[in-house]
Symmetry: C2
Subunit: 403 residues, 2 copies
């Protein structure tokens, strides 16, 4: 009976309801939500589907929000954000990437989601194309299509650990291209693009009057002691880049909903106006928490990195032992995107795996039309739970006949 409800949800068809803006048809029923809804009807589910850190936020961050609340910080901030946070962000980025940045280069948003929404809405339009890697985070394509724009997919391949070939991106640029979206470290693959890739794309894009939208929400989740190649460290001018990040993944503050966008001051001025019409301003007490996060040292991040790094290593081993899954060693974020045998539909596998073993993963097709034969596995859960999950996955996969 619970199944019937789920199926109704899956079959939901907007086209029968003429009152809705047809632009909303660009928004699919999100694959993650489908799986999570089904999981909610089952007992004893192990979630390898989680998109937020599983540790509590650091105490000094929580305390800063608390103090702000108790000090009466419950009214609106300036539309661009709390001046103290804009200032702290400018200092932090200037130091991290050795470049001058002013508070006027920043806009504080309701999480990175609103920043992505503003950036894609501002650049997409009918007749314009935006280049996306396939697979990509599932928000990008629908937002482009909602504005009447079209998506040009550059396929990523598991055998290249989902690295993006800058030559393929540049070859895809034409007079209709408005923007390229980068997301490194990537959700869903955990891939980190090397500096050469980022530089080549940013340089060619600027030359052709194309924007690079860089979603850098996992910019602190970089393993093996590597340095992170941000778009902000790979360009001199800001007039063709929009860099997005947030506190959600770095400080386990997803529910505090504070993100931001870095761009030229001219772009920020325009986006501020639009921001007033979508959400007005971000949450005031949690912007104070953000100031504390930026000023509070790297202890929390360091220990989180160590823990995620161990989990990553264990997951790589477990996937290698699983018949029918082909893994690799992700370099960032907390996801792996192992592929299934060619031609196998990840939707079907993820759904049956959940129903028959109680392990919840996300089907690859959620992240792109060319990525259906893969699963996204999140390791934002304890090593014990990951091991328990594979005690179910391995025997189940052994029984599958994928030929």
């Amino acid at each position: 009976m619970a199944d019937t409800e789920i199926d109704l949800d899956l079959d939901f068809d907007d086209s029968q309801d003429p009152i809705w803006n047809p632009a909303l048809l660009a928004i699919p029923m999100p694959g993650i939500r489908r799986m999570v809804n089904l999981a909610a009807t089952l007992d004893d589910v192990i979630h390898l589907s989680i998109g937020q850190p599983d540790m509590p936020a650091p105490a000094h961050v929580v305390d800063a929000a608390t103090e702000a609340l108790q000090a009466g910080q419950t009214g609106y901030t300036m539309d661009a954000g709390l001046p103290e946070l804009l200032e702290a962000l400018a200092e932090y980025y200037a130091e991290r990437y050795h470049r001058p940045l002013d508070p006027e280069n920043f806009l504080i948003t309701t999480g990175a989601t609103e920043a992505i929404y503003l950036a894609l809405t501002a650049l997409s339009a009918p007749g314009r194309e935006i280049i996306l890697p396939d697979p990509s985070f599932m928000l990008y394509a629908p937002l482009i299509r909602m504005q009447g724009g079209s998506v040009y997919n550059v396929p990523l391949r598991q055998e290249n650990r989902y690295q993006l070939d800058p030559d393929e991106v540049i070859a895809a640029m034409d007079r209709n291209t408005a923007a390229v979206v980068l997301n490194s470290p990537s959700n869903p693959t955990g891939t980190v693009y090397p500096r050469e890739t980022v530089e080549a794309i940013v340089e060619e894009a600027a030359y052709r009057n194309i924007h690079v939208i860089s979603d850098e929400v996992y910019d602190h989740l970089i393993y093996d002691g590597k340095t992170y190649p941000s778009v902000l460290g790979c360009c001199s001018d800001l007039d063709h880049v929009m860099v997005i990040s947030s506190f959600s993944k770095t400080y386990s503050m997803a529910g505090m909903r504070v993100g931001w966008l870095v761009a030229s001051q001219g772009a920020i001025r325009k986006l501020r106006r639009y921001h007033m019409f979508t959400t007005t301003v971000a949450n005031t007490p949690c912007q104070w928490a953000g100031v504390a996060a930026l000023r509070g040292g790297s202890e929390f991040v360091d220990s989180m990195l160590e823990e995620y790094s161990r989990r990553r290593d264990r997951l790589v081993e477990l996937v290698a032992q699983t018949p029918g899954l082909r893994g690799y060693r992700p370099e960032g974020a907390f996801y792996m995107f192992p592929s299934l045998p060619e031609g196998v539909d990840g939707n079907d596998v993820a759904l049956r795996l959940l129903r028959e073993t109680g392990v919840c993963t996300i089907p690859g097709g959620t992240f792109g039309e060319g990525s259906t034969n893969a699963l996204r596995i999140s390791y934002s859960t304890s090593i014990d739970r990951i091991e328990e999950a594979f005690e179910r996955i391995i025997p189940w996969m052994e029984k599958q006949d994928f030929t």
Copy 2:
């Protein structure tokens, strides 16, 4: 020199910048922001321009957010909102308007702004018309136009205390009409529509398959002991209404950014999907504050009402003593919208009044093309400050020659 910056801002012309989505041209430089920017460059300004309550949020509300933070409530909630808040809202509305409502009739948003954004975006589209009173809150018209829809203005008249004539609204409905927007108590006029007006519009709209979007953010700021006629108290079916409200004005929580939308369960299911692409979810600790607000009794609201009521009475007296301003007795919210002599441009008056006396009001044209000869005066400031402001306004107005 500060003036030059302001003027640059006013003259900003998007059309020279081909990279931006032309839909964003529907968004004007907000009149409020213009005035506030200019005011920021001046000394000794009295703000009669404020759109949020000037009292601190109630202690039990602040404490609830604090407790949630300290208890580790910093991750995402469900996409529709915190289940405890959805439950509390359903109970609160069911009791207030004597009708059955489920948690599934609600969607929690980043303030009422996101709810307005979702509702108008969902119903507007090229070829569709949405009926707005003129004057109206300045977010509505640009959001309709951004989706390619058009605005049909029903003019309100100061001599009728800006009451909306339901027959004029009904006469304006035709086959292209997708929705009517109501906002009672109104920003910028403080007008409360009587039950008969609301009922007549809701009934005719449902009959014609037209939605009523009711922005009820001031639903607790009703003076003179009157009962508030909500759209939720004036309709049997929910399938043609979307009611929006928030904690911002009722509990002085504007910076905590928690609002909501009440609609049919089918509509909420669709809006939830879109909501995931704009902001994902609302702020978690402040949703807990919302639960405390709803369960915490009416003491705060009662004392706020008493205070605002006194201010309203004093403002009515002061406007009556001011040459060139014609007032009336607003019944709700914390605004009055006195008119200037016919043909006088409120933009010019507000700008000169600010420059020459330091009193910041908002020009009427911000709220509609047919409302230029008026000013919006907010009384969300102490009686002392209101009196001080009129000690400047009255002599200044005496010197004006409006003929």
